[in-house]
């Protein structure tokens, strides 16, 4: 009976709990708590959680997780080939973040393990945030807010004019779902869109460039919407930033390591690009200190997905994928493993 009611751990008997499908939960203690809703999951599954035990994870998994079929990977907790080797029965990894770069997808494919993604639960919020960062950088919203709070407006300090949004050539790096939603929004602000991607997308109305450098040469703004892979590591480097030019703006809502952060800092310090809006960094939660003094930079703490609504949708999706798996129904959001 407790199985179908609003989740309350104590209302289930031990017997009822043991009848539930077992799901291994892997979560690094440093990941944000928003991504994991214990009560939601315990209504449907028996959770096997190494953090509930004083044992080191490695031996815990060896002793308790050998027969586990499904793993919930919380946020960006790493699922390495080493971890997978301790889970011989594993058939499913349920991811709960927008990116999948922390999961050894190649090893999953080799072992015949299916991976489910977070689907579209975060897509719109990330796109909204990217646009918010861009408007903020161009119109100096956060910088001006700081000045007003420091009582500098009353001192009649002159404020520089912002930059117009319309007419900007926006280059989307990676035109997946997120990139497409960003493009759709910016069109209504009067921007023009071009993109680069692994492959050209024939059904898309925007001009395609086969390299980021060419895209940068023909853009005023670059918005990074692609996933982090070996190929895209430091894809925004000195050459690309030079091609983008002094009036250029970079918005990064992908992964910090898409940008050579040291090089970006130099370009900003020397006024070789106009500004940047960053949600991700190479060494989170540490942000290059030099950026703190810059008024033409907006800094966010990896929060592009952070809305109440998206996390509620995430919990439903995670539970939905697990339930589908255990009842042999089609998974809701299987990921392509290339």
């Amino acid at each position: 009976m407790g199985y179908h009611q609003k989740p309350q751990y104590l209302s289930k008997t031990l017997e009822q709990d043991l009848l539930l499908p077992r799901v291994l939960v892997l979560r690094s203690p440093s990941v944000p708590s928003f991504f994991f809703s214990k009560s939601h999951l315990q209504a449907h599954f028996h959770l096997v959680d190494p953090l509930d035990s004083p044992e080191p994870t490695h031996s815990f998994l060896s002793r308790h997780a050998a027969s586990v079929l499904a793993l919930l990977c919380v946020a960006s907790t790493r699922v390495s080939s080493e971890t997978l080797s301790l889970l011989p029965s594993l058939k499913l990894v349920v991811a709960s973040s927008a990116g999948l770069d922390h999961i050894d997808l190649g090893e999953c494919r080799r072992r015949g393990i299916t991976v489910t993604s977070a689907g579209q639960v975060f897509t719109e919020d990330v796109a909204d945030f990217a646009v918010g960062l861009l408007i903020d950088v161009l119109r100096r919203v956060s910088a001006s807010d700081g000045c007003v709070r420091a009582r500098l407006w009353a001192e009649k300090r002159p404020f520089p004019l912002g930059v117009k949004l319309g007419g900007n050539r926006v280059g989307i790096v990676g035109l997946g779902r997120i990139g497409s939603e960003v493009a759709k929004r910016l069109i209504d602000f009067g921007c023009s869109i071009a993109y680069c991607s692994r492959k050209e997308k024939p059904s898309v109305p925007y001009p395609y460039y086969s390299t980021v450098s060419e895209l940068a040469t023909n853009s005023d703004v670059l918005i990074l919407c692609c996933s982090l892979t070996k190929e895209t590591h430091h894809i925004i480097n000195k050459g690309v930033m030079e091609a983008l030019g002094k009036e250029g703006v970079i918005i990064n809502i992908g992964r910090g390591a898409l940008i050579d952060e040291k090089e970006l800092v130099k370009f900003l310090q020397q006024g070789q690009i106009l500004g940047a809006g960053l949600d991700v960094y190479e060494n989170e939660p540490h942000v290059s200190q030099e950026l703190f003094a810059m008024e033409n930079v907006v800094l966010a703490p990896h929060a592009a997905v952070y809305t109440l609504e998206s996390f509620a949708a995430l919990q439903e999706l995670v539970v939905g994928n697990l339930k589908a798996f255990f009842s042999n129904k089609p998974l809701l959001t299987p990921a392509q493993l290339e």
């Binding site: 944000p32 408007i135 709070r149 912002g162 929060a303 809305t307």
Partner: protein
């Protein structure tokens, strides 16, 4: 008194004079755009005389005045300008001009409505995103070193699905509505009169609009009717999660009551580019993280300022050539 150019000498008989009491920001930043073969500027602010004496001595034959918020055109000023036929402002707003007196005396008024619509809409939506998604607050959090120290910042609120009430659906309000739709917001509006060709639900009062909205964006002008139109009653029905964005005029909102609502958590947040007594901002707002404060600047871009200056000059040149004005304010 400088004599760097014949035209700048206000005693020259060659070109008709346009009085400027205090320079609007667009004149300060783009003065070269105001050089014309059809008029010269009579710069009252460069004189050491008290204003009324300057006007009495030098402005008797002035037919046109370029004004701004900092130099309102009151009935008293008009009385000192017996030849006045045209009042020009480089802003969209005309609340600093005594329109009743102008109409009574047959004085035409032109403004710069339209040139600020797109930039204003970008700014309004930018402020809404900022408040809902806590962009500036999170930026402060990172810069204060709190991310490594205290962990993740708080959750914000999704834009998509929000019901956004647009107060005033003129050029500016329409530009805002169009952008909101791209984010999946539902647009509702209130206006003096319903607009039949518009797809958004109409509410005949701001109170009804607020009751049915998650956020309000102020897109109307400041008039006797709209002064303090957004008051405690309206804010309370907007509710604890409600967000208000104002880049129109500060006095449309009863600022004291809004500040109380914000401090007490009776509304969810505010994005404000304008205030009742600029550049003074209520101190209580400095301590709030759910408020974004902007120094009456977020709308302006070089492009809109250049367009405004071209419109001002265009109106003046039309006036002095006896041609129809480009952007007359129609009295209602």
């Amino acid at each position: 008194m400088e004599h760097h150019q014949e035209r700048s000498d206000h005693r020259s008989q060659d070109l008709p004079q346009v009085l400027v009491i205090k320079p609007p920001p667009v004149l300060t930043l783009f003065e070269d755009k105001f050089i014309s073969s059809k008029f010269q500027l009579l710069k009252a602010w460069e004189s050491t005389l008290p204003l009324d004496q300057f006007l009495t001595n030098y402005a008797g034959s002035v037919r046109a005045v370029l004004c701004s918020g900092a130099s309102p055109i009151t009935a008293d000023i008009i009385r000192l300008l017996p030849s006045l036929q045209l009042v020009i402002t480089a802003s969209a707003g005309v609340n600093h001009i005594d329109l009743t007196e102008c109409r009574r005396l047959g004085i035409a008024v032109t403004n710069a409505a339209g040139v600020f619509s797109d930039d204003g809409a970008d700014a309004a939506v930018g402020l809404l995103i900022d408040v809902l998604r806590k962009v500036s607050a999170a930026d402060r959090y990172v810069r204060n070193g709190l991310w490594p120290a205290k962990g993740d910042y708080a959750l914000g609120s999704k834009l998509g699905g929000k019901r956004v009430g647009v107060v005033g659906l003129g050029g500016f309000g329409s530009a805002v509505a169009k952008r909101l739709e791209a984010f999946g917001c539902t647009v509702l509006y209130n206006s003096r009169t319903q607009k039949p060709s518009v797809p958004y639900p109409f509410y005949s009062t701001v109170l009804e609009l607020a009751a049915d909205s998650d956020s309000l964006i102020i897109c109307c002008g400041l008039t006797a009717e709209t002064r303090h139109m957004i008051n405690r009653e309206v804010l309370l029905v907007l509710g604890k999660q409600g967000v208000i964005v104002n880049i129109a005029r500060g006095a449309i909102i009863n600022e004291k009551e809004m500040v109380e609502c914000l401090v007490r958590g009776e509304i969810g947040g505010a994005g404000l580019d304008v205030f009742e007594n600029e550049p003074n901002v209520p101190e209580e707002l400095f301590g709030l993280d759910n408020v974004v404060l902007s120094p009456h600047r977020v709308v302006f871009t070089p492009e809109s300022f250049v367009a405004a200056s071209e419109l001002v000059v265009g109106n003046l040149e039309a006036f002095f050539s006896n041609k129809p004005l480009l952007s007359p304010v129609i009295y209602e």
